[in-house]
């Protein structure tokens, strides 16, 4: 046996213009010919699927005198074969003419399987993209929903002081009427009860000031909470202020379920996507109060929020004394759509959004630990000096 005659490689000699001078048995078989002899004199160019292959091949052969592992495609009976061709140019042969001697290896099987893999990967990438798009649409909807819910809660918080400011305002009208009447009759008499009115006026104005201040605080928090846009970085984000604002805004979510205490250490302002980090704080507070609500239906629980600086990271912890995260859920709480809450209450997007915001947007970390009070601590860390590669 001889590799050039019996091996599964094509051994081919052609003239400079491509006429086949000799070919081995496997080569003849490859080109669908009955015998090597039946191919002699035929031109090889006709077999190339892509004329440019041959052009390029000759061009290189001309400059270098040889080519190595050059990829060519042959079209045979409607099927395209990918081959590697190695060749040398023989300028003076015994037959007198310029000849090209080449060895061709069929790598179609290899290329085809690669192509299959590549196509699969491409399809996967498309599916992945669709999934991601669907996820961001849902995330956006979740955000809108939570803003709606928030708005309802905020309206509730404002309604309360608004109620007594309005009723006070009605008293003011009555008092003014009484004073007007007294002035008209030019008798600042007993009847007008002016002493009482004056005293109550001071009281009413004090109460109104309080009520209006409360409303102003809520609207200010709301403004700060939602003002930062999510596309651009807030250059000087004040984490503690954000915690306070979020607590004001989310008050109606937790006030019947939990007492909240804070331990906010000094944190220098740092750049981050403020709007997004606010969302994270809000999600963690809402989760904590829901966990407490599930554990104690009647009794109030306790949420503790602390912040600190640790080694260049701003750290925030939301601790609750709800039921904690059960072992069976531990690995999945940050997965999109993972929820243990009843249908309609949770979509399971909250923590996955938090993860995306902290880890992907800020190169930070977020995790949880079950604590000694039976509840969970959710903790995040954001580098205070953000690299450019976010």
């Amino acid at each position: 046996m001889d590799i050039l005659t019996d091996g599964r490689i094509i051994h081919l000699i052609t003239s400079g213009s491509g006429d086949i001078v000799s070919i081995n048995t496997y080569g003849a078989e490859f080109f669908h010919a009955v015998s090597p002899q039946s191919l002699t004199g035929k031109n090889i160019n006709g077999f190339y699927a892509n004329p440019v292959d041959r052009e390029m091949y000759l061009q290189r052969l001309e400059t270098k005198g040889w080519i190595e592992n050059f990829e060519v495609h042959f079209s045979l009976g409607g099927v395209v074969y990918t081959c590697l061709e190695n060749a040398v140019l023989k300028r003076k042969t015994t037959r007198g003419e310029e000849e090209i001697e080449s060895v061709i290896i069929d790598i179609s099987g290899f290329v085809d399987s690669n192509i299959q893999t590549i196509k699969l990967n491409l399809e996967l990438a498309s599916v992945n993209k669709k999934l991601n798009d669907a996820y961001s649409t849902m995330a956006q909807q979740e955000k809108m929903a939570s803003i709606g819910e928030l708005a309802a809660g905020v309206a509730h918080e404002i309604n309360n002081p608004l109620g007594f400011v309005m009723s006070n305002s009605r008293s003011l009208h009555r008092y003014i009427d009484a004073i007007k009447k007294a002035l008209a009759q030019n008798s600042l008499s007993e009847e007008a009860n002016l002493a009482f009115i004056l005293e109550d006026l001071a009281e009413i104005l004090k109460e109104n000031d309080e009520g209006l201040t409360r409303i102003a605080r809520i609207t200010e928090s709301l403004k700060r909470f939602s003002r930062m846009d999510s596309e651009n970085k807030t250059e000087k984000y004040r984490l503690n202020e954000a915690v306070r604002d979020t607590l004001v805004i989310a008050k109606s979510h937790y006030k019947y379920k939990a007492e909240v205490t804070t331990d906010l250490r000094e944190i220098p302002p740092f750049p981050c996507y403020g709007d997004a980090v606010n969302q994270v704080i809000l999600n963690l507070i809402v989760n904590a109060s829901q966990a407490i609500d599930e554990r104690y239906k009647e009794k109030k629980g306790h949420i503790r929020i602390s912040t600190a600086v640790d080694n260049g990271f701003a750290v925030l912890t939301v601790s609750d004394n709800g039921g904690g995260v059960p072992e069976s859920a531990a690995g999945r709480v940050f997965d999109p759509f993972f929820t243990t809450k009843e249908v309609g209450k949770g979509t399971g997007l909250g923590l996955s959004l938090c993860y995306d915001i902290i880890v992907n947007k800020h190169n930070g970390q977020i995790w949880f630990e079950n604590n000694d009070h039976g509840g969970a601590d959710f903790i995040f860390k954001i580098p205070m000096e953000q690299g450019d590669g976010t």
């Binding site: 699927a49 892509n50 004329p51 440019v52 390029m56 592992n69 050059f70 990829e71 495609h73 395209v80 990918t82 290329v111 690669n114 192509i115 590549i118 196509k119 990967n121 491409l122 990438a125 498309s126 992945n128 993209k129 450019d388 590669g389």
Partner: protein, 114 residues
């Protein structure tokens, strides 16, 4: 980047130009893309693609005279990379010769051609 930056790998060269606002990356590819220079080509383009703010990559291919199956593989790897990053990839002015290789291997339909 306002000047075109040109990187040459063996027989292929790539010129990069970013639009003033940085969102579109234009790559002008010329020469021959084959098995030996594909990995280098891929790395070079990926590096540039990884810069911040790129939303669209337009590859101008009129100067590309030859592409092997591995070269096609590089384009598809880039396409996958673009999809991951949410970058739109457009292949522009592909010569008939190069397009025929995409056709032969059945990849044309995956790409947006202009």
């Amino acid at each position: 980047m306002s000047e075109e930056k040109v990187v040459t790998i063996d027989m292929v060269s790539v010129g990069f130009l970013r639009d003033p606002d940085g969102s579109t990356l234009r790559c002008r590819i010329s020469g021959q893309l084959e098995t030996s220079n594909s990995p280098g080509f891929l790395d070079t383009v990926k590096d540039e693609l990884g810069r911040q703010g790129v939303k669209k990559m337009v590859m101008e291919l009129s100067g590309l005279t030859y592409v092997s199956s591995t070269g096609i593989g590089s384009f598809t790897t880039l396409l996958i990379e673009c999809k991951k990053r949410g970058v739109a990839l457009v292949l522009k002015n592909m010569s008939e010769k190069v397009k025929s290789v995409f056709d032969l291997l059945g990849f044309t339909s995956f790409f947006e051609l202009e």
